[in-house]
C-alpha cells in the first residue's frame, strides 16, 4: 500500500483569479518583505477582496527560515485566527507557511517532532494555499518543510501528509520578473528533484511520469528561461516543471544531493538550489553503475544518446553539467569560495548529517560514511567521482 498525494493545481497566466472562488473569512498571508515591496501581496489581496475575505500579512520570512520565525508566525495566526493560510513566495515562505499552519493547529508541537504518522488535525483550524513566485522548490505540492535550527546550525527537513496544501496556484505572471540568479538556483533545485525522484528506490508508476516530463521540460526550457526573462513560454513551462518534479520526489524520496546540500547549507549558508545542484552530478557519478538502467531510461526519454545504459547515464550527467555551466552555477565547492580548512573542519558533522538523513537508505547505491566523505571532498575539488 502506498499513496500519491497532490493538491488541487490551478495553473496558467490568470490562475490567481481562482482566489475569488474560495470560501472563508480571514486569510493570513505568509511571505517576505521583498514580495510586499514588489506588490505581489497587493495582487493576492485584490483577489481575496473579491471573495469577501479579509487578510493579514506576516512578512517576516527570511531565506532559510528559522524555528523562531515560524513560532512568531504561528503566534500571529493564533491571535488572528485565519481559516486560510496562504504561503506566497519561494520555498522559504511556503515551507514557513506550512510549518506555521501545523504550529497554529498544535502550538505545543516541536518542529523537530513533526512526523508523517501522527495526527495534527490542522484542517480543523485552517486550509492552505501555496502560491510560488519562483520555479524550482515545488514546495507548493509537497508536505515537507525545511526550517533552520539556528542554535545547532542545522536545517531540519520534516513532514506530515497533513501539511500538503489544499490548493497550489501556479500563475506564470508571478515568475516573469524573476532575476537570472534566482532562475538558475531554483531551476537547479527542480532538476535535482526530478532526477532524484526518478532515481529513488521508492519510485512508482505515479512518480515516474511527473519526473520524466519535468526532466524533459527542464532540459528544454531552463536555459531559455535564464537567458531571456521575456520568454513567457519558457518561464511558464519551468513553473509547471517545478511542480511536477516535486510531485515525483515527494511521493517517493529525494536523494544524496539533497542530503549533502542540506549539510552544506547548514554550515555555509549556500542557497538550497545552488548547493543541491552542485552535488547532483557527483552523486550521479557515484550511482552511475548501480543506477544505469534507471537513469538510461530517463536519458532516452529526453533524447540523449549512448550505446549502453552506462553511456546514456553519463550523457545525462554531462547534460546536467552543461546546463549548470550555462547558468553560471559553481561546478565545485571551491568555486563557492568556501575556505578549505573550514570545509574540512565541518566535514565530519556534514558527513554524519548527510548519512543520517531519512532518504539516504533509499538511493540506488547506499553510501557509508567513508564514501560520503569522499564525495564531499571530490565535490570540493571538482574531481570526477571514480569510486
Amino acid at each position: 500500500m502506498w499513496y500519491f498525494r497532490n493538491p488541487l493545481i490551478v495553473f496558467g497566466d490568470d490562475a490567481l483569479e481562482h482566489l475569488r472562488e474560495i470560501k472563508g473569512k480571514r486569510a493570513l498571508i505568509v511571505t517576505d518583505a521583498v514580495l510586499v515591496k514588489l506588490g505581489f501581496v497587493d495582487k493576492i489581496a485584490k483577489e481575496l477582496k473579491h471573495a469577501g475575505i479579509e487578510h493579514r500579512v506576516f512578512a517576516e520570512v527570511e531565506p532559510d527560515p528559522s524555528i523562531e520565525t515560524v513560532r512568531k508566525g504561528a503566534q500571529v495566526a493564533l491571535e488572528y485566527e485565519p481559516d486560510w493560510l496562504i504561503g506566497l513566495g519561494g520555498g522559504s515562505s511556503m515551507d514557513a507557511a506550512k510549518m506555521i499552519w501545523m504550529l497554529y493547529a498544535q502550538p505545543d508541537t516541536e518542529p523537530y517532532a513533526i512526523v508523517p504518522f501522527q495526527d495534527y488535525d490542522a484542517r480543523s483550524k485552517a486550509h492552505m494555499i501555496c502560491i510560488p513566485t519562483t520555479a524550482g522548490t515545488g514546495s507548493e505540492v509537497t508536505w515537507f518543510m525545511v526550517v533552520t535550527d539556528t542554535v545547532e546550525q542545522r536545517k531540519i527537513a520534516v513532514g506530515t501528509p497533513e501539511a500538503l496544501p489544499d490548493i497550489a496556484i501556479l500563475d506564470s505572471r508571478l515568475v516573469g520578473d524573476m532575476p537570472k540568479e534566482l532562475v538558475a538556483d531554483t531551476g537547479m533545485d527542480a532538476l535535482t528533484h526530478c532526477v532524484e525522484g526518478f532515481g529513488s528506490t521508492w519510485r512508482t508508476d505515479f512518480t515516474n511520469g511527473p519526473a520524466l516530463i519535468a526532466m524533459k521540460l527542464i532540459f528544454k526550457y531552463l536555459k531559455r528561461s535564464y537567458d531571456d526573462a521575456s520568454d513567457k513560454e519558457a518561464r511558464e513551462h519551468m513553473l509547471n516543471a517545478s511542480a511536477l518534479a516535486s510531485m515525483a520526489w515527494s511521493n517517493g524520496m529525494a536523494g544524496l544531493a539533497h542530503n549533502m546540500g542540506h549539510a552544506l547549507g547548514g554550515f555555509f549558508h549556500v542557497t538550497h538550489g545552488r548547493s543541491v545542484g552542485l552535488y547532483l552530478p557527483y552523486n550521479m557519478e557515484y550511482l552511475a553503475e548501480a543506477g544505469a538502467e534507471v537513469f538510461a531510461e530517463a536519458a532516452r526519454f529526453i533524447g540523449l544518446e549512448g550505446k549502453t545504459d552506462l553511456e546514456l547515464t553519463l550523457a545525462l550527467v554531462n547534460g546536467i553539467k552543461e546546463i549548470a555551466r550555462h547558468l553560471g552555477q559553481p561546478s565545485s565547492v571551491k568555486e563557492l569560495k568556501i575556505d578549505k580548512a573550514a570545509y574540512e573542519k565541518a566535514l565530519p558533522e556534514m558527513v554524519e548529517r548527510a548519512v543520517g538523513e531519512v532518504s539516504t537508505p533509499t538511493v540506488l547505491r547506499v553510501p557509508d560514511e567513508k564514501d560520503m566523505e569522499r564525495m564531499f571532498l571530490y565535490a570540493y575539488e571538482g574531481k570526477v567521482v571514480d569510486f
Binding site: 500500500m1 502506498w2 499513496y3 516541536e110 523537530y112 517532532a113 513533526i114 512526523v115 508523517p116 504518522f117 501522527q118 531540519i156 520534516v158 501528509p161 521508492w202 554524519e352 548519512v355 543520517g356 538523513e357 531519512v358 539516504t360 537508505p361
Partner: protein
Amino acid sequence: MAIFATQEWLDEIAKLLNDDPAYAEGAKNWEGDFLYIIEPDEVEPNPSYYYMDLYHGKCRKAIMLKDPSEVKAEFEISATYSNWKKILTGELDGNKAMMTRKMKFKGNMTKVMKDVKAGQAYAKALALLKTEYIK
C-alpha cells in the same frame, strides 16, 4: 536460528547489538527503552510483548513480557504479527510501514528525529539477524 518473539530470539538480538562496533558507534548517544507490541491478527490471534533497553550503543536488557504493564518504557512500537514479519524480512520498508500506519509509534519524536543515526545503526545491525517464523 531463533524463533520470532521468543526469549532466545531476543538474546540473539542483544548479542548482535553488543558485539557490533558499528552499532556501538552509531548509537553511542542514544538512551531510550522500548516496549514492542505484537498485535493479534488472523495469522497469530494472541498478542505478545517484549522490551528492550538501549543505552549508549549497548543493549542493556531484552526480555519477553507477559503483560505490557510490567514496564514503563519511553517508546512504544506496535504492529500486527504479519506486519512485523514483513518488516523484519525486508518485504515492507520500516519507514513506509509507519507512514501507512501499519506500524505505530508512540513517544518523544523530537528525541528520535535528532538521532536518526542511532536508528539507522540499529536497523543495519538487525538486518544480519536470521529469524524463524512458525506462522
